[in-house]
Every structure is written in C-alpha cells, then in structure tokens.
C-alpha cells in the first residue's frame, strides 16, 4: 500500500472565513457565510455585487495578490510539515485560473501603447514568485484547467512523488478575485444575487470567492521514517472530461461519474467505502443536477445514503484554489469525523436521491471520502482521501 499512497503532512488555507486551517474549519462548522459587496474593484454595470473576499492582511512578499494568498497558505502548511528535504528535492505544483488577469487589466487601463508587463501574464511567474519567497527549488509545474485546477494539481503532485521527481511537494491552488473573472460569470448570468445555495430548490447560481489552499505531500514511507504527523492520505485520483459543452456539464453526469470511478479504481476501493462526497457544489442549477446524477451513477442503489456537502456556500467558489481548499476540508472531515453542513441549504432539491447535509454538521464514522472538482469545458477531477489511521 505504502508504495502508491501519498501522505499529507501539512495543510494550509486562506479563505474569506479567515487565514488558517483552524479558522476555516470553525467557520464551516458554524455555517458562516462571509459574503459582501465587492471591494477589490469597481464592478461597473455588473448586475450582482456579492463575493467572498479575504479581509485580513496578507503577506506582501509577492507582486500579486494571488501569489500572496498562495504564500500565506503555503507557509502555514510548511510550518506544520517542519522537516524539509534539501531545497532541490522539494517540488511545487501550482493551480490558478486568473493569475495575470490583474496585470492585463492594469495594462489595458493604462495609457495607450504602454508596454505590458507580459512576464506577469505568464502563469509560470506565479510559480517563480512562490518558489522564490518560499525558498523552494526549480521543480515547478503550473496548470490551468479552470475550476478543477486545484484537484488536478494534487493529482499531478502525487504522480511526481511516485516517480520520485521530488521527495516533498507543495500542491498550491490560489486565485484572487479579479474583474475579468467576476464580469465573466456575470455575463454568463451565473451569479446568485444572494449568497449561493448549493443543492437548494431556490438556488440561482454561484458566488465567487478568493483564497488559497496548500497540501504538503510526501511518500508515506518517507513521512513515517521522519515521524511526521500525517494529516491524511491521498489514495486515488481520477481525471476525466465531459466532452460535452464549454460551460454546461453533461446533464447525465457522465464525466463526473467517470472521474469518481477512476479515482476509486486507483484507490482500489468500492463506492460503498466512501463516508461522504465533498461536492463541487457550485449552486448553479445545471452543475448541481449533473453532479448528483454522477453520484447516482457511481453509488447506484446506495446513493440515497451517500452523505453529500458543499463548502462553497461558506467560502465562495475560489476557482483554481477550490480543489485544494476542498481537499483540505475533506481531510479535516476525516480527521474530525464530522462533515460540515452546506450553509444556506434549506429546501434540498435532491432529498431522497442523496443525503445532503443541512442545518448542522454531521457526525460520521468513515475512513474515506471523495472530493470533486469540475471545471469549464467539462474538466473533471476527483480525489479519494483517507484518514491517517488507515495507514497504520
């Protein structure tokens, strides 16, 4: 088992709930919904004015807010992991959808013909900055598969560890709130004028957030040898594509189901072993329906007992960071044996089809859980996570 299993030895998170994993967890259990009018920029003639922004002071080591969010999450995770290998044996896999947008916006708002700081538009500059500030080596990867980027970063980081590209790797997802992203979802009429309500009959769309999540990953044997505290395990990852539509999910949830099935296959576990599904759960009508359809495909007759929740009602949709933040939450759920409820969910559309957690957190007795991340273009990723005790 230990050959393919990856240990998580550090967690970090920054969301609108605050800075730090403990703050995130407490906020989710309380069902907080830190949404408010957008402060980062003038929303102009956008019809909805609501987002989940990080209010706290961030590190100022980097040139972009996205990178500073990533630094804050990574520092927390690295502090926990403590013992680090040589700098050159540390990898970094970064996920972001919007890095460079602010630089582009600034350049376009500047004087005509002003040179664009084009290096800032390269997403590799995000990894370069993070590596410089965190004093990491040259092994860096940057991916952008829209909203599934964070989960895919974790999957690729695990692959790199198994191939011994590095001995320890940080999987970091980070995205700030930008006018380009905000106006894009506004143009698609995908924003809920109230805070998002995943799975609710009255849901009207998503709410955008910003933040960062970071997981420090190591091969299980290495982590054990160093007597590190293991926060959980990554035992499977599935990558798939709807191949259906650029913005709408496959209504039958085929891609979602495929990514979950592939993750379960890698983990060599049946769906029945999963204690919960940390859903992508954006709150748009089509996405939630497709995901529940996908869960039904995977869980079959036992779908009704499948515990499902979404954290986006408390963090907003943090784009490229979402997959990493939600993996952190899934690991905390396994560690604490509690699944946070979906805040704002009052009248569940899927009652009788799956077991959506509402009103209050749910106690569980589970060793495994799934975290789903789905993005534009039908880019799907699922992670199967396990509690640390499974490795013993």
């Amino acid at each position: 088992m230990s050959e393919s299993v990856i240990a998580v030895t550090g967690l970090g998170a920054v969301t609108a709930l605050g800075i730090g994993v403990d703050v995130l967890w407490a906020g989710l259990l309380e069902g907080r919904r830190p949404f408010g009018p957008v402060r980062a920029f003038d929303i102009g003639d956008c019809k909805v004015n609501l987002a989940a922004e990080v209010q706290q002071q961030l590190p100022s080591a980097c040139s972009s807010r996205t990178a500073n969010l990533g630094v804050a999450a990574a520092r927390e995770a690295l502090k926990e992991s403590a013992l680090l290998p040589a700098r050159s044996r540390i990898g970094l896999v970064v996920a972001s959808t919007g890095h460079g947008d602010r630089a582009l916006e600034d350049a376009l708002r500047g004087s005509a013909g002003a040179p664009l700081g084009w290096q800032s538009c390269l997403k590799s500059s995000l990894a370069d900055e993070l590596a410089q500030v965190l004093e990491l080596g040259p092994r860096r990867q940057v991916i952008n598969t829209a909203c599934s980027s964070g989960a895919i970063a974790i999957a690729l980081a695990c692959d790199g560890l198994r191939a011994r590209d590095y001995d320890l790797v940080l999987a970091v997802g980070c995205d700030e709130l930008t006018a380009l992203t905000y106006s894009g979802f506004n143009a698609l009429r995908a924003l809920d004028p109230a805070a998002c309500r995943p799975f609710d009959r009255n849901r009207r769309g998503m709410s955008i957030g910003e933040g960062a999540g970071c997981l420090v990953l190591e091969r299980l044997d290495d982590a054990r040898k160093q007597h590190k505290r293991i926060r959980g395990l990554i035992v499977g990852a599935g990558l798939a594509c709807d191949a259906h539509h650029l913005t709408a999910p496959d209504p039958e949830g085929k891609g979602a189901a495929l990514s979950m099935q592939m993750a379960l296959a890698q983990a060599k576990l049946p769906a029945s072993a999963m204690g919960f599904v940390n859903a992508h759960g954006t709150g748009t009508s089509l996405n939630d329906r497709a995901e529940i359809a996908g869960i039904e495909r995977v869980f079959g007759g036992s779908a009704r007992e499948c515990v499902v929740h979404s954290v986006k009602a408390s963090t907003g949709h943090c784009m490229g960071a979402a997959g990493t933040i939600e993996a952190v939450v899934a690991l905390l759920a396994l560690e604490n044996q509690r699944v946070p409820h979906t805040a704002g969910l009052e009248n569940c559309e899927f009652d009788g089809r799956v077991d959506c957690v509402q009103s209050r957190p749910r106690a569980i007795a589970a060793s495994y859980g799934i975290s789903n991340s789905f993005g534009f273009g039908g880019n799907d990723a699922s992670l199967v996570l396990a509690r640390a005790e499974v490795a013993e």
């Binding site: 102009g44 916006e105 664009l116 084009w118 940057v142 143009a187 009429r189 594509c241 495929l258 534009f376």
Partner: protein, 303 residues
C-alpha cells in the same frame, strides 16, 4: 535492442503527428495550407475560436489523418485524453475580452469569450470535437510547459490511465502581446528570441494497445523535472541517473526514442525564481524542442 525493465514504464508509441505554422516555410504552399485549414475547421470554428484553439484543432485533425484514425474510430472513449502545453494560452481571446471590459464595461463583454479565454478551453474544444472523455490537462508554465505535458502524457499512458493522449504544444500570439514580448526580449535578452506561432500535435499511444507498425518510434523511458544522465548498463537496462549537482535551473527531460536518448530541455527561470532572468529561448517557439521529437519520428533517425 535495449530491454525495457519491469521497473520502467511500458513503451509509449509516437503514433503520428502534425506541426502547424500559420505562416508556412518557403517550401510549403501557403494557399493550399490555408484552404485545407479553412475546410478542416469549418466556418463556426473560424469565426469565434481563439487562434491557438484553431491551430490546435487543425493540428490534431491532421495528426489523426496521418495516423489513419477515420470517421469510423470509436468516440466518447474514456481512455483517450488530451494534454495541452502553452506559455500564454488563449491570449487573443483574453486580450479581446479584457479590452472590452476595460473600455466599454461589463455589459459590453461577450459571454462566449469568457470561457474561451481560459487556458484550459483549448483542451476542452479538442475533447469535445474528438469525443475524448479521458484526462484533459493544460500546462501553463511558460517555456517548460511542453516538457511537463509530454511527461504527464507518458505517465498517464504508462500507468494505464489512458490508452491514447493527444499532446498539443503551442502558442499563437496576440499581436499586442507579440510586440510586447519582442520589445522586451530585444532589450533584455538579445536578438535571438522572436515570438513565433506554431502548434505541434502528437498522438501518443500505449504500445500494448496500439495498432502501430513494427519499427514505430517509441518513447521507452522518460524522466523529467531535472537534467538527468541516462545510461545503458551492462544488463541492458536503461537507468536515469540524477547528477550530484541539484542546482540545475532547467526543467528538463530525457526520453528514449528508438533506442537513443533525446534530451529535451527548457529553462524555467533561474533557481532563485525570477522568470525574467532566465534564458527565454523556448518562449519564441514553445514547440522548438519537441519538434525534434516529431522530426525524429518522421525521419526515423536517432539522435
């Protein structure tokens, strides 16, 4: 003949490929290429898709034709995926969207442009057109994107998570960005770096399931993320040895093609993390090194 160790991944076959440049070289018929390009993509794609996306779709289609994948090919296959590498992504659409937002406001933006401006949209359009339901990945790490995508593709195939991956590598510059990059590089890096447009598509397959001919080019081994020295040892097995110095600035890989090692490398900043200080030769044509792979395939040569 070099043996493949059980410890090494199964062989990955370079089944076919196509290298597309919007401005063909002197020995190609530009008019004929343009006509074929237009016919292949169709009016709808030409009207609204990002130029990089157009080039990628065309290159993949031509690679498929070269491989003999016809209309009768099974579609909607979970085992077929796509992996895209690009330094700037769908930048033309992104710049167009951002310009309208900055100059005319949110209500003037085109809702279709927004999802198309996301880097991952290129892979998504390829997946949609060719029914690829397997992994869909997009690497956006500047000059080293191609190596990362190549390695990830081989790993997906070698681990059995995909039977075929269309590896697509390229950049097609927005004119404004091209000018900015060229001006910047002329000042800071010397004159060798001129942004160029190109897209390379390769069809990679698992040897076990490929219907390829004997003598096909294989990727039998691959390593990545750092410069490696590859050796063929007395027992005939290939092993990659990481040199003692770990301070390499390169994000590199070596891969074995038909018995010889081809080294591909692209700088990714320097160890201190500054993108601007690193050599930028791969940015001018993000496909440069990987083109060697295609050339090796076409000419059946070894390096």
């Amino acid at each position: 003949m070099i043996q493949v160790s059980a410890k090494l991944p199964p062989r990955v076959v370079v089944r076919g490929g196509h290298y597309y440049q919007p401005r063909p070289t002197y020995f190609e018929d530009e008019t004929a290429q343009q006509r074929l390009f237009d016919e292949t993509l169709g009016k709808e794609s030409l009207r609204r898709l990002d130029p990089l996306c157009q080039g990628a779709l065309y290159a993949v289609e031509m690679a498929r034709r070269e491989c003999g994948f016809g209309a009768g090919e099974k579609t909607q296959l979970a085992a077929y995926g796509v992996c895209v590498a690009t330094a700037f992504g769908a930048q033309s659409t992104r710049v167009r969207y951002a310009k309208r937002l900055a100059q005319l406001g949110a209500s003037a933006t085109n809702p279709i442009d927004f999802p198309d401006s996301i880097d991952g949209a290129v892979a998504s359009h390829i997946a949609m057109r060719f029914g690829l339901r397997g992994p869909s990945l997009t690497f956006v790490q500047g000059p080293s994107s191609a190596e990362a995508a190549l390695i990830a593709s081989c790993r997906l195939i070698a681990s059995g998570r995909a039977e075929r991956i269309y590896l697509v590598i390229g950049d097609i510059y927005d004119p404004w960005l091209r000018r900015s990059v060229a001006d910047s590089l002329r000042v800071t890096q010397g004159s060798h770096a001129v942004p160029e447009d190109a897209v390379l598509a390769l069809a990679l397959e698992a040897h076990a399931t490929s219907a390829c001919d004997e003598g096909q080019v294989f990727v039998t081994g691959f390593t990545g993320h750092e410069r490696h020295r590859a050796t063929v040892e007395a027992d005939g097995l290939v092993r990659a040895v990481t040199p003692p110095s770990q301070a390499s600035a390169d994000f590199s890989g070596v891969m074995q093609i038909a018995g010889a090692w081809l080294e591909v490398c692209a700088p990714m900043g320097n160890p201190e993390g500054s993108c601007q200080d690193g050599p930028m030769n791969a940015v001018h044509d993000n496909t440069g090194y990987e083109s060697q792979l295609l050339l090796a395939f076409r000419r059946k040569v070894t390096h």
